[in-house]
Amino acid sequence: MRGVGAVGGFLAGRVDRGGFLAQRAGVAGAAVLAVAALIALLAPLLIPADALDVTRVTDGAWQPPGPGHWLGTDHTGRSVALLMAQGTGTSLFVGLTAAVLAVGIGTLVGILSGHFGGLLAGALLRVTDFFLVLPALVLAIALSTVLPRGLGTIILAIGLTSWPSTARMVRAQTLTIEARPFVERARALGGGHTHVIGRHVLPSVVPLVLVNATLAVASAIVAESTLAFLGLGDPTRISWGAMLHQAQLHGAVPQRAWWFLLPPGLAIVVVVLAFTLVGRALEAVVTPKR
């Protein structure tokens, strides 16, 4: 799993304000995501139930792109284009929920360990650092091997292994905020933990968390595809990663069935890139000017 720190500037503590160009890329990314979301929402409504039922499809297997199925067919004769549309929902859903889970855990741990000192913070920091260095994918693989197979497991495996970078970032931001004189002023005014966290820390952490979540979705989608590729996905769902798994399982490469191999991978790249660009643009927007 990729750390979101690289594409964002968080771990380096800096922010890359790309100016107009980055914003424009962000807008393009957002447009791509809007289209993807639309496809994801409409696909279940528009695709006839029979079209993706292997027992009912009538087209031949491994048909190259042509009239009727403009992205060709897979090993069972299903239309790759329809599979792609159907898979959009799963990939986005897993990416979003896993990212929300990861960022939620990360934010909680980050604020707690940043705000409170003492043993709790020490322990949380230790655990965070521990999970931060662990190869997240290895851990996610281990988790999805031992848990029952399914979408929930994938989400859990990704969510539980990719929170530490958020926690680190939120903790750093919490510490920065808490070192600010206005927090001291709030304390001097008599504000307690709830006041300081609720009025000062949380509001200034939220924008960064938002950015982080956007980038986390990107990395979660890649992670999902990797787990699915390794055969750890939910076999009853169509996702882009699962399609690539099928492509490999059924010999798309020796068949030279590029139409079954290219689209899911490209879709992943485009959507992940879109999330990344949106994340970077958001980052530039939310970061207060120096």
Binding site: V7, G9, A12, V133, L143, T145, G231, L244, V269
Partner: protein, 316 residues
């Protein structure tokens, strides 16, 4: 004091790794002996015997104690699949992984840092836009897919699998050439993804330093622009970048698993995949402990290295 703390922290992390490994793989419902003997003529008595042989018939706490004490002696248990000590199995697969990961990391670090420095120094130039764009795109590419794609595109130019051919002449040069030939695609795959990340890390790290006042000092002294960069900016910017490179070592491990799987590179990643399809829990556990342990140790090294490179950090 601080040094002791570092080592203590690393030791604690290693213990946590061990505990994690055990519970993760013992939480599983499932009888490894059954999967081990599937499709073979077996009797109940033989199964019981195997169970005893692998110590699976004892209570969980006792299993953990045995596991932990033997772990301290470097004994990771016996692989269900290979009927051999896990440690041996892992050890013999270490070489190819080190070769692949080492080559890829060296190239990725060198290339990534170089590109990152150039892009940041000429920020918003064409070079910067192109490299950053390419890196962001590569960052979005699933490693395995890139591998499959490369394999499809290059066709017959490179071998599709493994580390060497079986019929290569035994002399060193032929063997080395053969290994190098096999190494091309896997390392290109791994480099592409890892390098992108390093480039982005280095770029933002240097951008961070770009407006540092000491660079103005250096310019005021009359230093040439590239000397300012080489002698002043990069030595400062590379420190956090190196730390991040080490911190992202997990990424390389993850990349190695998928890359080795796609190219049948006979290293730890492939072993991981094999253990996964078993699943061979003791082997998985051993691999988790070893890779996580390696990452922990790498981080300790990075810490120490940072202490040596950066005078501001006092290690001792």
């Amino acid at each position: 004091m601080r040094l002791a703390g570092r080592f203590g922290g690393a030791a604690l992390s290693l213990v946590m790794v061990a505990v994690l490994g055990f519970f993760l793989f013992r939480v599983v419902p499932g009888d490894p002996v059954v999967s081990m003997t599937r499709g073979r003529p077996t009797t109940a008595a033989m199964q019981a015997e195997l169970r005893a042989q692998f110590g699976l018939d004892r209570p969980l706490p006792e299993q953990f104690w045995n596991y932990f004490t033997s772990l301290l002696q470097g004994d990771l248990g016996t692989s269900f699949t290979f009927r051999r000590p896990v440690a041996d199995v892992i050890l013999e697969r270490l070489g190819p992984t080190l070769l692949l990961v080492g080559t890829a990391t060296l190239i990725a670090v060198g290339l990534g840092l170089w590109l990152g420095v150039r892009a940041a120094w000429r920020r918003d130039s064409g070079f910067d836009r192109v490299t950053t764009g390419v890196s962001l795109t590569l960052w979005a590419v699933p490693t395995f897919w890139l591998g499959m794609l490369l394999m499809m595109v290059t066709g017959d130019l490179f071998p599709s699998r493994g580390m060497r051919d079986t019929d290569t002449a035994p002399d060193f040069v032929s063997q080395a050439l053969d290994v190098g030939h096999h190494l091309v695609l896997p390392s290109v795959t791994l480099v592409a993804v890892v390098c992108a990340e390093y480039m982005l890390v280095m770029r933002s790290s240097l951008l961070e330093e770009m407006h540092a006042p000491y660079l103005t000092t250096a310019r005021a002294k009359g230093l040439r622009d590239d000397v300012v960069r080489r002698r002043h900016a990069v030595p400062n910017a590379v420190l956090p970048a190196i730390t991040l490179v080490f911190l992202r070592f997990g990424l390389v491990v993850a990349g190695a698993i998928t890359t080795e799987t796609v190219f049948s590179w006979p290293g730890l990643g492939l072993l991981f995949y094999d253990a996964l399809t078993g699943p061979d829990y003791l082997l998985l556990q051993g691999l988790l402990v070893v890779t996580a342990g390696a990452v922990v140790v790498m981080n300790l090294l990075a810490d120490l290295l940072h202490g040596v490179l950066d005078p501001r950090v006092k290690v001792v």
